[in-house]
Subunit: 480 residues, 2 copies
């Protein structure tokens, strides 16, 4: 029982044996004169004195309900209840489908019985139709309500298409979905940015990536992917970082980084195709047109990009990371790769380019040694100018200044992995559980991780990455 | 370069421009006399002196490779390398497809060139063909290698079908996939069995369930599901508990527990249908026949089950939990529900049965009040004998003595939720971030969580739940 004001008492009722007979999209003139049951929440209300128009929203859209006061007692009672209910309240309506030319569905519902299922006792601090101008913290404090907004509904419907199309694409390419542990004993890449946990009586961490596990699993399943949360104790307050994000992790045996870049090209193209196919309505609502992409996406070597930046009078030395800020003036809003990063910037498991030369393996006796890369000329130039510049078989997929994905060919020789760990100052004993499977012949493999929220942010031009996830986590926010 | 013993040196080679042209399942007599490239690992080797038979395994199966010593120098060299490679080593073979009536594919491969991609330097401590008799700890210490075993390959292929069919089923029933945060500020159900984490400068926990978030999300999306890890600091050492597990969480608006039980019935039936359709080979390998199930699964009320247990001279009082041990003699290996659990055994968000009577809401004025349940008679009897026995709209899906899923109708009225929290001794201020959205009319809803590993364990008759997951976590195990 709710006392909305001194004169208005509205009782919440039990669902009991009422069930929705039609979703909004299933209602059409073929049902005229039939009695149906609809359920949803009041998305808007227009009060014309003796006539009340209500839009009842379900997960597919609105249905128009019309109630008139001049009628019998029962109708008056329904009128009074609906008139006093605030927006967002949930109700069930048993009513007759009648013709209404002005309605988008050509019909509307005249209620015969109603059930008040959930009363909104407060007025929402923002409108469902509002697109911007609401502080994100105000919205996040009432995130479930915020997610009712049209803008976010469109975003999250497209997010769903993205997830489904990623799975479709990878499964059709003979990948199997795996789940790797999120509670781990050792940091993948040396310990930065990890959340510590109490694991019974042991110290442990939340996984910042499924890297080592997905690599191991290529041994048993060859092509694996995982779509799961990753955790990074990211100290910065930006619009493009989350402490908990969904990572699309892909790893494939018997290939190198060129193969998985091609796979990523095709994956992105497939996602965009599927969104255009399934979410034209949402794209229109968002006034968005997805880019007409051409694959393969352009590939720029790290070295040529550094040259270009230097020529543009940006301060960067070969070996530095490339910050978004420094890239800003020289890239447009489109997809491209930065390939062949300095080996020194990469984790211990990344394979150097020209592997055989560098590690002193005897030349291959049974095959030709030409490797095909689109950027070998530029790269060659850099290496000539500075002979100790060792690059890696690695790439970042970028969209403008936003890094979406990072990938590489991985090392699969235990001794070289051990050597690298020593060079990077890692305690290799702590990685024994990982290294020991390399005694049994881990196949050559390559892979990438794609940040789901980053990708959504780029594709749908979302200002703040927090709106690409349901309940964002950052240095300041742990609730809701 | 690997020195396998005093006389044998085998070099690992780079993949370079070699790529697999055919998976094992794509090789057939139509390619006779063609040269193809296959890649994989040596699953077995038979040495007949001057003839060597090798089974090269890829993710789909084995391909027979035959090498003879009497030949030219090149052939002899290939012979020597293959002869000296241990099982599990990864290789690429460029070779000719030739007829071989005795082979299952009617062909075999005669190598012309090989590439040693990864050398197994040790002998595996267990056979790929072994089914049991290997200590699980020995296997888990080399899990990636263990996962190459035929037994686990079959299990994990079926696991993949289960995941895919769950998504197919739920998506076709208008569900949307969501991701809720795993780092949370408050325990869902009061604090037991949580892993604490350091969240920047705050105390936080790993989510033991997405319960409150999925409930909130029914507000914006009506029908939601999540497939994600849950974390429980389970102190017991058993074959049926994991510290990190995958939970299939489902929540639906405008329905009650009977509706979601029906949904769960249909979900299980759909999964079994799909496994039979897609994994007949794996079922045969496992010598398993899936049960011919009939839905709806039987529903036994908690009260009638307690009666029955008491008549069977088991020690249990009404209000106690029902342990697997106590159930053992009275249930067979099949699916069934235990419904209408005592409200006192359930968390604060579970709805009591006969809600209106109990919380003193005025009777509904516009609808009939009959609720339909299949177990109302038995239940009535219990309530007559002890009038203060309040039961809840809840269920557990069981398979024999194994609990697979737990679900209920949830409360959606803020005041009653607050009351319940007080009764349970919970600090309701800590749940403010959750309760505040109930000011805006959260619809009635019901749902369940289904433990993926438990379900796999039941269906595939796996002895230890650790074999239903890739890298198990328990009180003793944090690696690999």
């Amino acid at each position: 029982m709710y006392r909305l004001d001194e004169d208005t008492i509205i009782n919440e009722q039990d669902l009991e044996n009422w069930r929705r007979t039609h979703y909004s999209f299933q209602i059409n003139p073929s049902q005229i004169n039939q009695t149906i049951i609809i359920m949803g929440w009041i998305s808007s209300k227009r009060d014309h004195g003796n006539v009340l128009f209500i839009q009842l929203r379900d997960k597919f859209g609105d249905t128009q309900v019309v109630v008139k006061k001049k009628g019998n007692n029962l109708e008056n009672e329904i009128f009074d209840v609906l008139k006093n209910l605030k927006e967002h309240s949930s109700i069930g309506i048993k009513g007759k489908v009648v013709e209404q030319k002005k309605s988008s569905t050509s019909v509307e519902i005249v209620p015969e019985e109603i059930k008040v299922l959930s009363v909104s006792t407060k007025s929402a601090p923002f409108l469902t139709q509002a697109i911007s101008n609401i502080g994100i913290d105000t919205r996040l404090e009432l995130r479930a309500l915020d997610l009712r907004r049209d803008y976010l509904q469109n975003i999250f419907k497209i997010r769903f298409t993205i997830l489904n199309s990623i799975r479709e694409f990878l499964i059709s390419n003979y990948f199997i979905e795996v789940h790797t542990p999120k509670m781990i004993a050792t940091a993948t890449e040396g310990g930065a940015a990890l959340f510590p946990i109490f694991y019974y009586d042991k110290e442990a961490f939340l996984a910042q990536s499924p890297q080592l596990y997905k690599e191991q699993l290529t041994m048993a399943f060859e092509n694996v992917f995982e779509i799961a949360p990753i955790f990074r104790a990211e100290p910065s307050r930006t619009n493009r970082h989350l402490s908990e994000a969904i990572s699309i992790d892909v790893e494939k045996a018997f290939v190198n980084y060129h193969d998985v870049m091609k796979l990523l090209d095709e994956l992105v193209a497939y996602i965009i195709l599927k969104i255009k196919e399934k979410n034209q309505t949402e794209l229109n609502n968002l006034e968005l047109e997805l880019p007409d992409i051409q694959i393969p996406f352009p590939r720029y070597s790290y070295s040529e990009l550094v040259d270009k930046l230097q020529k543009n009078h940006k301060y960067i030395r070969w070996g530095d990371d490339i910050s978004p800020k420094i890239l800003k003036d020289i890239v447009g809003d489109s997809f491209y790769y930065i390939v062949d990063w300095p080996l020194s910037t990469k984790p211990f498991y990344v394979k150097p380019k020209n592997y055989s030369d560098i590690i002193g393996l005897p030349p291959n006796s049974t095959t030709t040694t030409t490797t095909t890369t689109t950027i070998s000329n530029e790269n060659q130039k850099d290496k000539e100018s500075e002979s100790n510049r060792i690059v890696s078989e690695s790439f970042d997929l970028m969209y403008g200044t936003l890094e979406l994905s990072s990938g590489s060919t991985r090392l699969n020789n235990k001794n070289i992995l051990l050597d690298n760990m020593k060079k990077k100052g890692l305690n290799h004993a702590a990685f024994d559980y990982h290294l020991r499977v390399f005694d049994y012949g881990v196949p050559p493999h390559a892979g990438f991780g794609l940040g789901l929220e980053r990708f959504i942010m780029a594709l749908l031009k979302i200002e703040n990455i927090r709106d690409a996830t349901f309940y964002p986590r950052d240095i300041d926010r742990l609730t809701p």
